[in-house]
């Protein structure tokens, strides 16, 4: 059988659509240049960085005790954080889906699921130090413990668990909601008790989902840079070791090889999660719930679970609230009253706060529409069109999800500081705002693409086909049909990209030059120096900005969302 003609015709039809072809070419160029190329250059660097091809650089870094320790540390933290986050996430998800809660507890849950979205990822490290550190508000002043150290392994584990469990909670909540209640009712009917139902029905159904949540957190944890940086102390993880290797030891080839090792770990995890677990999750939980679940009213179950979760939620919220309050203490660890606004003042008067906010804000503002539009275009192509390079586009944009920021940062340094392949080509973008914007885009692209794809999958394919059939070309179809139908997803992609960009640090910190002051980098610097009040002041303002952006989005969606009638011209 020869499928040649059909393929050739498909190609011809595609070529008859210049806008589509241009879009695809631009996309492929972008993805190759800014995702594949930097990663490829890392590989090249780590094998030939010292002049001859071979494993000498790997041999060298594996001979460093600090590096081997960092690998062990990273995996240990990642493993424990993965398990803890999944467990806490499951508890929250279960309570939310299965137990009748009062409005107070319900509100707490909402806040907890929102917080990690709007806050910079490392804020919890700050509050952890301020509450439980040597001069911690709780440890020293409430409990009178003078030598408590939060720096190190446990500090990272606790902070990362608190930071990442909401992700597990949201994932597992979606899965639990999809379990058909009649399955559990059938088990109850056969005589199983609630605990038995949970262990023999709910848990087995959820198992692939739990594995998924575990791996996602695992990846997040080992890719996390800021928390280990601030609270890790001498406990180095891979991300911080790479950073120090490049900024402290100026060993770029070594850092490249280390980045390759880190990338290999995350890629393996990602591959397992993507190809093995996701398929399994879909297989066990295909059905939609046939009707509403009877919520658990039983007080012996309801009260302990609700109380436990509410306490947990309040603890997390307290950690976040600590940040703006910490910014108001006159002298950290010594004088707490009266509260003062002087640090906020100093942010702007002494530490170029205005420039930092302006730079971060403008760069993120430029990056977010690009990200949102790119991710919608990618999703459209992936879901609705078929062409040869589609697999490539999908694979690379998903690959970016598995690339830790630090790895990307090192890749950009190696790939662009001397121009492409050290030829000077594109060297001009190195050290400019443009490369920062590109990093922002690349870092947020996978999340946007993923949400775009799931939004588009909900739309009947024939709606776009009908427009195409009526005489619209691809561009017209995208503008008049696709985009209006996924407007909500587009808007939230816009804001997510903005928030992720303005709170990003891992890749950025390696690439930023003194001409740009970024808030996150400032916070990191002040936290490193021990100037917690200033770090808190910066962080508080950042939280206000991101929260404002999310509020604005919700308002916009409410007024111009897809439920409203929108007319052309």
């Amino acid at each position: 059988m020869a499928r040649g003609q059909g393929a050739a015709l498909d190609r011809k039809k595609l070529m008859a659509d210049p806008i589509m072809v241009t879009t695809i070419v631009v996309l492929i160029t972008f993805l190759t240049l800014f995702i594949l190329y930097p990663l490829a250059i890392l590989l090249v660097d780590s094998f030939v960085g010292d002049g001859s091809f071979g494993l000498s650089i790997f041999r060298r870094i594996f001979a460093m005790p600090s590096f081997v320790r960092a690998i062990k540390n990273t995996l240990r933290v990642g493993f424990v954080v993965g398990i803890l986050s999944t467990m806490v996430g499951l508890l929250f998800a279960y309570v939310e889906v299965y137990v009748r809660m009062n409005r107070f507890a319900g509100g707490l849950f909402k806040v907890v699921s929102m917080l990690p979205v709007v806050s910079p990822p490392f804020v919890l490290s700050l509050s952890m130090i301020m509450l439980f550190g040597k001069a911690g508000l709780i440890t020293r002043f409430l409990l009178g413990i003078y030598d408590n150290s939060v720096y190190g392994y446990w500090g990272i584990v606790i902070v990362q668990t608190l930071t990442f469990f909401p992700v597990c909670y949201m994932m597992l909540k979606g899965l639990l909601k999809n379990i058909d209640p009649s399955l559990e009712e059938a088990a109850r009917d056969m005589g199983a008790g609630r605990w038995k139902v949970f262990t023999s029905v709910t848990l087995p159904l959820l198992l692939p989902g739990l594995g998924n949540a575990f791996l996602v957190t695992f990846i997040e944890s080992i890719a996390d840079f800021a928390n280990p940086m601030i609270i890790g102390g001498s406990y180095d993880t891979l991300a911080t070791t790479i950073y120090l290797q490049i900024t402290g030891a100026y060993d770029k080839a070594g850092a490249a090889a280390m980045a390759v090792v880190l990338l290999c770990i995350t890629l393996t995890m990602f591959a397992v999660q993507k190809f093995y677990l996701e398929a399994k999750t879909a297989a066990t939980l295909t059905g939609k719930a046939s009707r509403a679940r009877m919520l658990i009213e039983d007080k012996s179950v309801k009260i302990p679970l609700t109380v436990l979760c509410s306490l947990g939620a309040m603890f997390v919220i307290m950690m976040y609230i600590c940040v703006p309050i910490g910014a108001c203490f006159p002298t950290w660890g010594y004088k707490f009253f009266p509260l003062t606004g002087k640090w906020f003042g100093q942010v702007f008067s002494k530490y170029h706060g205005f420039k930092a906010f302006k730079d971060s804000f403008i760069l993120s503002l430029i990056a977010s529409p690009i990200t949102a539009l790119l991710s919608m275009i990618i999703s459209y192509l992936v879901v609705k069109r078929k062409f040869k390079a589609k697999g490539f586009i999908e694979a690379v944009s998903m690959l970016a999800m598995a690339v830790p920021g630090t790895v990307l940062g090192v890749g950009y340094i190696r790939g662009f500081s001397g121009g492409m392949f050290h030829t000077g080509f594109l060297q001009g973008i190195y050290g400019t705002g443009l490369i920062l914007i590109i990093v922002f885009v690349v870092r947020s692209l996978p999340t946007g693409t993923r949400s775009g794809i799931s939004a588009l999958r909900q739309i009947d394919k024939s709606i776009e086909e009908s427009a195409y059939d009526m005489g619209a070309d691809s561009f017209k179809v995208f503008m008049t049909v696709t985009l209006p139908l996924i407007k909500d997803s587009f808007l939230s992609g816009l804001v997510t990209a903005f928030v992720r960009s303005i709170t990003a640090i891992s890749a950025i910190i390696l690439l930023v030059t003194p001409s740009y002051l970024l808030i996150t980098v400032q916070i990191n610097e002040f936290a490193e120096k021990g100037a917690f009040s200033l770090a808190c002041a910066f962080a508080s303002i950042l939280i206000v900005i991101t929260y404002g952006a999310v509020l604005l989005m919700n308002l916009v969606i409410k007024h111009f969302g897809t439920s409203k009638n929108l007319k052309e011209d």
Binding site: M1, A2, R3, G4, Q5, G6, A7, L9, D10, K12, K13, A16, D17, D460, S462, I463, E465, S466, A467, Y468, D469, M470, G471, A472, D473, K476, T480, V481, P484, L485, T562, N565, L566, K567, E568
Partner: protein, 358 residues
């Protein structure tokens, strides 16, 4: 419509798909050649997976044939994208644009063609009148019933005055009653407009009611093509006979030619059927007997025994065993006829002219 009517011609069209499970290639449509006359209403009929929708989507341009050429009128259209083809499709799921109201949905294709605003208004209103939706133009599509949405989809396809109208099982989402009234409606409008229409369905009564010609497809190839009467009375294969209407298959060996008739022997029971060219003694033949073409009596015909007798209102439904063959038949208007009960022995009667030898 002042346009020249155009037909559609498929020449040796094949489409190959990959089986997602085994990864093997197979023919979804194989070496299919068809000619659809201008202005006619043609139905592609067949069980699911027979290639009918694939054929339609190739005509629309959503799929590209792996072999062969498709012509619209005399123009080869293989290389044209769907938006450049002079066809319009009515989708199974209606595929109305949910963010537009009725008017804008219908006007969409005209706007793309840069038709002046005044003319758009005029043409949309005229079409809405044709599909009996006048006054609904301001409604959002989700405020319409299934039948109304279907009319909007039809109006949207008609308003751009395509050369060919394509229907992809448009009525399968409607309830039974609405389906019947909508199909009369579709036929009326098609004849009023005089447009060439290609209609895909798996519902045989829909195909009968609508079509000038029916094309029966099976496993990617055309099984038979003809008018509804030709296909019903002269099916070319057991598959066609079985797919269109109910059919009994009587198998017998030819004994001798007897004038216009041939005499077969079915398990020893003599069977008289019309003789057709090429029949030879000693060969085995299959005879198609429609349930409504047979009746029961006390004598003459084939001896048989009743195994099911069931009153259905307009007819009495019987299953009888004639030799080793089960025959289903419908005795219409049973009120004044003798009713046989299970276990009765009687005679199976039919006019030799009303059966068909395969």
């Amino acid at each position: 419509m002042e346009k020249v009517k155009k037909g559609v011609r498929l020449e040796h069209i094949s489409k190959i798909y990959q089986d997602p499970k085994t990864g093997k290639d197979f023919y979804a449509v194989k070496d299919t050649s068809l000619t659809i006359e201008p202005g006619s209403f043609v139905t592609l009929l067949g069980p699911s997976g027979c290639g009918k929708t694939t054929t339609l989507r190739m005509i629309a341009g959503f799929e590209s044939p792996d072999e062969g050429e498709i012509y619209l009128g005399d123009e080869p259209i293989n290389e044209l994208t769907p938006n450049k083809r002079d066809t319009a499709m009515v989708f199974q799921s209606y595929a109305l644009l949910p963010h537009y109201n009725v008017f804008d949905n219908v006007a969409y294709g005209l706007k793309l063609r840069k038709v002046p605003r005044e003319e758009i208004k005029q043409r949309v209103m005229r079409i809405l009148d044709l599909v009996e939706l006048t006054g609904m133009e301001g409604r959002m599509t989700n405020q319409l019933s299934g039948g109304q949405q279907q009319r909007v989809a039809l109006a949207r396809a008609l308003v751009i005055e395509p050369s060919v109208l394509l229907f992809d099982e448009p009525l399968s989402n409607l309830d039974a009653k609405l389906r019947v009234s909508m199909r009369t409606e579709i036929r009326r409008i098609q004849q009023e407009v005089g447009i060439t229409a290609i209609y895909v369905t798996h519902d045989q009564s829909e195909a009968m009611a609508l079509s000038d010609n029916i094309i029966i497809m099976n496993k990617g190839v055309v099984a038979q093509m003809g008018t509804p009467q030709e296909i019903y009375y002269h099916p070319v294969s057991e598959f066609v006979a079985d797919f269109i209407g109910e059919a009994n298959f009587l198998r017998g060996t030819m004994q001798k030619k007897d004038g216009e008739l041939a005499e077969l022997s079915m398990d020893g029971i003599p069977l008289k059927v019309p003789f057709r060219e090429g029949m030879a003694a000693g060969e085995e033949y299959t005879v198609v007997l429609r349930p409504e073409a047979a009746s029961l009596g006390d004598q003459g015909g084939l001896p048989c025994r009743v195994v099911l007798s069931c009153f259905m209102g307009s007819y009495q439904n019987y299953h009888v065993m004639a030799g080793n063959t089960l025959v289903k038949l419908e005795e219409h208007n049973p009120k004044n006829k003798k009713i046989y009960q299970v276990g009765d022995t009687c005679s199976l009667l039919f006019d030799p002219a009303s059966v068909h030898v395969l």
